[in-house]
Subunit: 69 residues, 12 copies
Amino acid sequence: MPDKVYKKVELVGASNVSIEKAIEAAYEKASKSIHNLRWFEVQEVRGNFDGGKPLYQVTLKAGFRLDGE
Amino acid sequence: MPDKVYKKVELVGASNVSIEKAIEAAYEKASKSIHNLRWFEVQEVRGNFDGGKPLYQVTLKAGFRLDGE
Amino acid sequence: MPDKVYKKVELVGASNVSIEKAIEAAYEKASKSIHNLRWFEVQEVRGNFDGGKPLYQVTLKAGFRLDGE
Amino acid sequence: MPDKVYKKVELVGASNVSIEKAIEAAYEKASKSIHNLRWFEVQEVRGNFDGGKPLYQVTLKAGFRLDGE
Amino acid sequence: MPDKVYKKVELVGASNVSIEKAIEAAYEKASKSIHNLRWFEVQEVRGNFDGGKPLYQVTLKAGFRLDGE
Amino acid sequence: MPDKVYKKVELVGASNVSIEKAIEAAYEKASKSIHNLRWFEVQEVRGNFDGGKPLYQVTLKAGFRLDGE
Amino acid sequence: MPDKVYKKVELVGASNVSIEKAIEAAYEKASKSIHNLRWFEVQEVRGNFDGGKPLYQVTLKAGFRLDGE
Amino acid sequence: MPDKVYKKVELVGASNVSIEKAIEAAYEKASKSIHNLRWFEVQEVRGNFDGGKPLYQVTLKAGFRLDGE
Amino acid sequence: MPDKVYKKVELVGASNVSIEKAIEAAYEKASKSIHNLRWFEVQEVRGNFDGGKPLYQVTLKAGFRLDGE
Amino acid sequence: MPDKVYKKVELVGASNVSIEKAIEAAYEKASKSIHNLRWFEVQEVRGNFDGGKPLYQVTLKAGFRLDGE
Amino acid sequence: MPDKVYKKVELVGASNVSIEKAIEAAYEKASKSIHNLRWFEVQEVRGNFDGGKPLYQVTLKAGFRLDGE
Amino acid sequence: MPDKVYKKVELVGASNVSIEKAIEAAYEKASKSIHNLRWFEVQEVRGNFDGGKPLYQVTLKAGFRLDGE
């Protein structure tokens, strides 16, 4: 890995089911334009109660290898 | 929203099922006395293993609009 | 002050003019029900751009002396 | 505890004797209106030197079970 | 919002007038290439005194909905 | 409890199902050598997307009473 | 700049007008004895409501080049 | 010290007398199995009010030189 | 206070008796050269066990009004 | 600089030689696509011991002026 | 990795040459008793100037897979 | 050490060679006016890429015993 460089982007996924589904939603959406997402780090879990039930909003950083390596 | 003011309270919900259930427990209990809970921010996830299984204790801040606005 | 005890509450004020106006809005609203607000500590400055212009949302803790002292 | 929900409030107690006395002062004052304070978490220790001697001001969060459970 | 995913970018705006003007400068510049900036979170306020007067440099995270949703 | 002393250890559990399963995995593994794990505090939730799906890696501190008390 | 060394001091400026005016007050006062203040980093914004209106108290670190370089 | 390596462990001591007594309790207990505890760093002060009086629970990291050096 | 500016310095006091004595030691020493110390903020409590007993080392920030105001 | 706006990106560089080499690796890789990288802020230093020797992985934020100014 | 559990220990290595040498010293010492150290996370870099030259003391967390997996 | 009091100052050293050289630069400069610098704590590592190569800027706190003890 010495000659590898990665970039992290910050994403917010949402789900009214679970924290895990919010993470997966962010991954699925972002992986359409970023092809080699490798890892994630949860930054914040918040949400709202608009429908009388939690909507989970999870902020995560997602890392991927920079192209052309 | 310029003329709206919100207050946040800090709650701890518990569940032996999941983190999400602990959040919902806090919401259900608190919404009996606070009528317009709008959003939440998870502060801490901890718990104990008393029955050989995790009991999730989730601290969250919950925000609501101050009455009379 | 040795025999004085204070409580802090967490408020969110908003303004489309400035951070200071958001703090004042929180103070004016909260001081209708809490009569001796003494100090504040800014916790977070955030907002949205819904109208193409920032709406400032300022979270602050406000401290007041507990009644009956 | 699965069906228990707690609330935390933030208090500031003061004492010119010790940090512990400041915590106890906050507890005694708050327990007059909140009947089931269960635990505390020290957030900050500060104070002033007005009389040439420290006056300790301790900010703590105190947790209690929500009524009616 | 369950099926919405957001991205946050980190920007630094500057102004020799005020913190608010620095936030607006970042918004105006960034909104030329990002069409749906929705919210911001102030991360840091710093600056320099080069001309004997503060130049405010405000770091903020700005969130927007990922295209194609 | 005045004469009780506890120790905390830091563990990382993993699961491709959920955050809760990762916590349980850490508990089950650690409880084979530590017999009185009492509580836990989640420190970090991260993971990777190696199989196109999140693998949750949860860092937690787990506390137990020191032997011989 | 390789052979330059800087020092930071921590100041608190106050203003009943704005956060910016509090920063300027700290700068003006400190620049009477420190001649080459170069940059600042806001650490905390707090204040009191003594006159029914916020008095802003801004803690900042201010950096300057050490003399004799 | 260049060839010395230290390890830190995290302990929780308790006392219904004072924060200092809780630190000493942790030290006395841990020093039975770790023979060269050298320094400590307080991480958290919390406790409960079970008997109507604070029981102090102090989390500290304690450092010692690794054996065989 | 609008026209007042304060400076904070960071001190470490020590005592083998208590945390409070360490704060007082820092105050007494520093007040010999700084005449108007007004407040303090505890930053860190640590120490060592050299004599088999804790020596408390308390880092605090101490604030004072800048001269000539 | 009043009319300048910057963006920060988060990168991870790696090196089995030193922390500095990891920072340089991130800079060299990123500067191929971002032409005016101006400053960096180290966020985290971590790594692994896969070959019995540290591989340094350094996360940094790198700032650059937004194009078209 | 779903069925793998890791433990982290906190170490302090020292070197009068460089930060990297301090990390390597901690690794070499700890790997004598822990056979599968996998990764590290730098927590703090400090030191002293006793000989008129820095002695680097680096606190790191080091992770390893729990035996018996 | 019970009767010793220390002060910490915050310095920024720079080097285009390494982080260690930046720390040494701060030490050498500061030790011209402060005669008993004892220890340091790294607060931040940042820098710029002005010459296409990192210039390391390291903020550290440096502690020394107050004179006259």
